[in-house]
């Protein structure tokens, strides 16, 4: 027996007690959807996990109405300190149920358990803890004293980090005093529904968070519904459609879209760590990462050595059962995504790039794609320009720092970039000239709730995380709310709307003290 063929070490599924059917989470309860229900499957073996309700336009309207009621009657009147208490409670419950959430995430998404256990779920808890701390300190969010919440936020999230994206959206929204209607991705609704159970456990007031499951139409209905804010993470195509749809309305919008990040390796880079960083940059989460370092730019004089070492390292990656604790590469999330990865890889070969895939056995069932690198890639190749969103790395070379910067910036995207060099001054000088929202130096794919995240150009606008992330869910005290503005457009005189939007100081303090009493009684 070979030691390296470690005996299976599967994480037990016994910790999960899943229901056979899940409804929509509206106004604090699970209710039936009026759309046609769908099945969620495990991408690792295509086995059915549960039946999920689908929300139609009326269901979405109900959810938004519930969120509106909760905003007006409870959440907007509650003090920041009390909102923070709820967020802390949610964060602790996420930690308590971490293993369960990790297993569910790997089951439904296909990502390896070591990532869901060591990255996704701990970051989810961290995000709630971080924003729980902000809830009573909004005066310091950079928008002046007493910033106000926007109202109801409609949030649509992708399937690559289902629970983490939920946390990125819900935590700052609630901390800032908004209520939420969230739509998880069609292929990965499971952990959002487990999260709904956590909200019930935390006794979060009904309607503050509503979760509507469904396909793209549900998301479109949510964007079109009576919400004050739209937050979306996903593909640039859908993001563009959303931007068009909300243009001309009072809805605020933030978009976190695709990317084609350059990972630049200079010849003085710490080579072994750079190899690890490249692997982590593109093969983390099967490359289903919007900020993945999918374009590797290597200085010419170390190109061959880096490629050689990279191939050797990729040969040691373990692909297989996502629930096995030793798995490095899990399953591709869906058949559709697998088809796209295959299509773009074939295009890469057709365009003349040289393809190399790690020698690993792919399971017969489920959706799998071996870690692949393309060498001899030119900047005009589609695999160097389009987002593959899979475990596929394009390797390009450069000669001078100027060339590296020019090539790195030559993309319609601008989400992230990486620089590998032992020379601090070079890192700073290059980072200064890269047009990307996030730049990692001598590391890649590291996230922290205190650090803002977001993109340039076609990678979207707005920032998530840190103090900046609060700005997406707050408005200065003097600004008019979207509803007030609409009321103005309808008929009422501006003065009245202003008074409505900006309660007198006396009134506000009265509200605060009242809700504080309520919080203390809990």
């Amino acid at each position: 027996m070979s030691f390296l063929e470690y005996a299976p070490a599967p994480e037990s599924r016994a910790i999960l007690s899943l229901r056979d059917r899940y409804g929509l989470f509206i106004d604090g309860e699970f209710v039936d959807g009026r759309g046609t229900p769908f099945q969620t499957i495990s991408p690792a073996n295509e086995e059915r996990i549960a039946e999920i309700a689908s929300a139609n336009t009326e269901d979405v309207a109900d959810a938004v109405a519930a969120a509106r009621r909760a905003y007006e009657r409870v959440w907007s009147k509650m003090s920041g300190r009390d909102r923070g208490k709820y967020l802390f409670r949610i964060a602790r419950l996420v930690q308590e149920r971490a293993r369960e959430l990790a297993v569910a995430e790997s089951l439904d998404n296909g990502k390896p358990i070591k990532e869901s256990r060591d990255v996704d779920v701990p970051l989810v808890a961290a995000w709630f803890f971080y924003y729980a701390g902000w809830a009573d300190k909004l005066d310091h969010a950079g928008l002046g004293a007493d910033p106000r919440a926007l109202g109801v936020a409609g949030q649509v999230i992708p399937w690559n980090f289902p629970l983490l994206m939920l946390a990125w959206k819900i935590a700052p929204a609630l901390a800032a005093g908004n209520t939420v209607v969230l739509k998880p991705a069609e292929t990965t609704p499971l952990t959002a529904l487990l999260f709904a159970e956590i909200l019930q456990q935390a006794e979060l007031p009904a309607g503050v968070v509503n979760i509507v499951t469904g396909a793209g139409e549900t998301g479109a209905a949510l964007v079109a519904a009576d919400v004050d804010k739209v937050a979306f993470t996903g593909s640039t195509g859908v993001g563009r459609a959303i931007a068009k749809q909300v243009a001309g309305t009072q809805k605020k919008v933030t978009l976190e879209l695709g990317g084609k990040a350059a990972n630049i390796v200079f010849d003085d880079a710490p080579i072994d760590q750079a190899i690890e960083g490249i692997v982590n940059g593109i093969f983390f989460n099967q490359g289903h990462v919007c900020c993945a370092g999918s374009r590797l730019l290597v200085q010419e004089n170390i190109h061959d050595e880096v490629v050689d070492r990279l191939k050797q390292r990729l040969s040691t990656l373990r692909l297989g059962d996502p629930l096995d604790k030793n798995t490095d590469i899990g399953a591709i999330n869906s058949a559709a995504q697998l088809a796209r990865i295959r299509e773009l890889s074939d295009v890469g070969v057709a365009e003349g790039a040289e393809r190399w895939s790690a020698p690993c056995e792919l399971p017969a069932e489920g959706f799998w794609f071996a870690p692949t690198i393309f060498t001899g890639v030119e900047t005009s190749h589609r695999i160097a320009r389009e987002e593959v969103f899979g475990p596929v790395l394009s390797v390009l070379s450069f000669r001078t720092p100027q060339e590296a910067i020019a090539k790195a910036n030559n993309t319609p995207y601008g989400l992230s970039a990486g620089i590998w060099s032992d020379k601090g001054s070079r890192i700073l000088a290059v980072a200064d000239q890269l047009r990307a929202g996030v730049i990692w130096a001598n590391t890649f794919n590291r996230f922290d709730p205190a650090s803002p995240f977001g993109g340039y150009k076609e990678s979207g606008y707005g920032r998530e995380g840190g103090r900046h992330g609060l700005g997406a869910y707050l408005a200065p005290a003097t600004s008019r709310s979207a509803r007030a503005a609409r009321a103005v457009e309808a008929s009422a005189p501006a003065a009245k709307a202003d008074a409505e939007a900006k309660p007198a100081p006396a009134e506000r303090s009265r509200r605060t003290s009242k809700s504080a009493e309520k919080g203390a009684a809990k």
Binding site: M1, S2, F3, L4, E5, Y6, A7, P8, A9, K114, D118, D268, A269, P270, I271, D272, Q273, A274, E276, G277, T316, K325, N326, D422, N442, T443
Partner: protein
């Protein structure tokens, strides 16, 4: 087991360096090696430490750990009786289970070599063949603060007494002062002193004492230097300085060994020593070896654990695996 010959080692070093191994040439070479990013290195080591080794893999790992141990006693208070007891334990680690593998070697001070050789009797030999070697620490261990003549005499005496392996310490003061040529020459000289009358040579382990080198960049340079000068093994620590062996340091040294093998086709061993006390930790090292240089390194002439208390923990785990329940400290023997 025989080490590489001195002449071959020197020729190889000259070919790699492209010049005589003086301070300037070595400095140019060692400082031209890419740096180490501490955060990244520690992250990678931590990642390797999360591998979950179960059932059949664990059983294999525990047996393999035993067969890679240099069972060590390096105390001022060591007595011939203590050494004989250590040798007995090395031969029969678990009296309740004759099937338990033997350790690779016993590691003692130079003056105890003859006692150990005598106690081993017929069991003395090459651990790759299932026998047990005698390793001796030499060169004014652990500080290395003595003249070269004394270091060489120390080494020659241990070899003459029957030591198969010499664990030498480098002159850390000279290394940190940038006198790489001096360190190189000393290692080469000790390597020459490892030579026996019949032309064979004891295997040389070069102790870097990583706890005193402090930075990972230094550890990487010292590793290259020791290999260039002809060391058959590079070893982390004496066990007398903290921190001793850590997973990141061992990973780093394995990376050097891997790169040296890529460069020359020649295999050098690695020995983490000091501070590895539990089976769980030792398994992390096996994983690190297997995933960095490959499984073929998990043999006594390419990987060792320098440890004393590790063996008992492994034996307890072995018993647990066989019986399904934990026994206790009194079910394994004290040294």
């Amino acid at each position: 087991m025989t080490g590489t010959t001195l002449v071959a080692a020197r020729e190889r070093a000259l070919a790699v360096l492209g010049g005589d191994p003086d301070d300037a040439t070595l400095r140019r070479y060692l400082h031209g090696i890419p740096g180490v990013d501490a955060v990244g290195l520690e992250q990678r080591a931590a990642g390797l430490g999360t591998r979950s080794i179960k059932t059949s893999s664990k059983a294999w790992a525990l047996d393999r750990i035993i067969s890679l141990i240099d069972l060590t006693t390096l105390e001022g208070a060591d007595t011939p009786g203590k050494v004989r007891s250590l040798v007995a334990k090395a031969q029969t680690p678990d009296p309740a289970d004759p099937g338990a593998p033997r350790v690779a070697a016993v590691c003692v001070y130079g003056d105890m070599v003859s006692t150990a050789v005598e106690a081993l009797g017929a069991a003395h030999g090459d651990p790759d063949d299932g026998a047990i070697s005698v390793a001796a620490v030499a060169t004014a261990f652990p500080s290395g603060r003595a003249s070269l003549d004394i270091k060489l005499a120390d080494t020659a005496e241990a070899v003459a007494a029957g030591a198969d392996e010499i664990d030498m310490v480098i002159d850390r003061g000279a290394f940190l002062a940038g006198r790489y040529g001096l360190v190189f020459d000393q290692i080469a000289a000790v390597k020459a002193a490892c030579r026996r009358a019949d032309g064979t040579s004891a295997s040389l382990k070069v102790i870097l004492e990583t706890g005193e080198l402090v930075t990972y960049d230094n550890v990487r340079r010292a590793s290259w230097l020791s290999i260039l000068a002809g060391g058959d093994f590079i070893k982390t620590s004496t066990g007398k300085v903290q921190p001793a062996a850590t997973l990141p340091v061992t990973l780093l040294m394995l990376e050097v060994v891997r790169d040296w093998h890529r460069l020359t086709g020649h295999k050098v061993g690695v020995k983490p020593a000091g501070g590895i006390r539990t089976s769980k930790d030792a398994i992390k090292y096996l994983v690190t070896v297997a995933e960095t240089v490959g499984e073929e390194w998990l043999v006594p002439h390419l990987f060792r654990f320098g440890a004393s208390s590790l063996l008992n923990d492994v034996l307890l785990q072995r018993q647990k695996l066989a019986s399904g329940h934990y026994s206790g400290a009194d079910y394994v023997t004290i040294d």
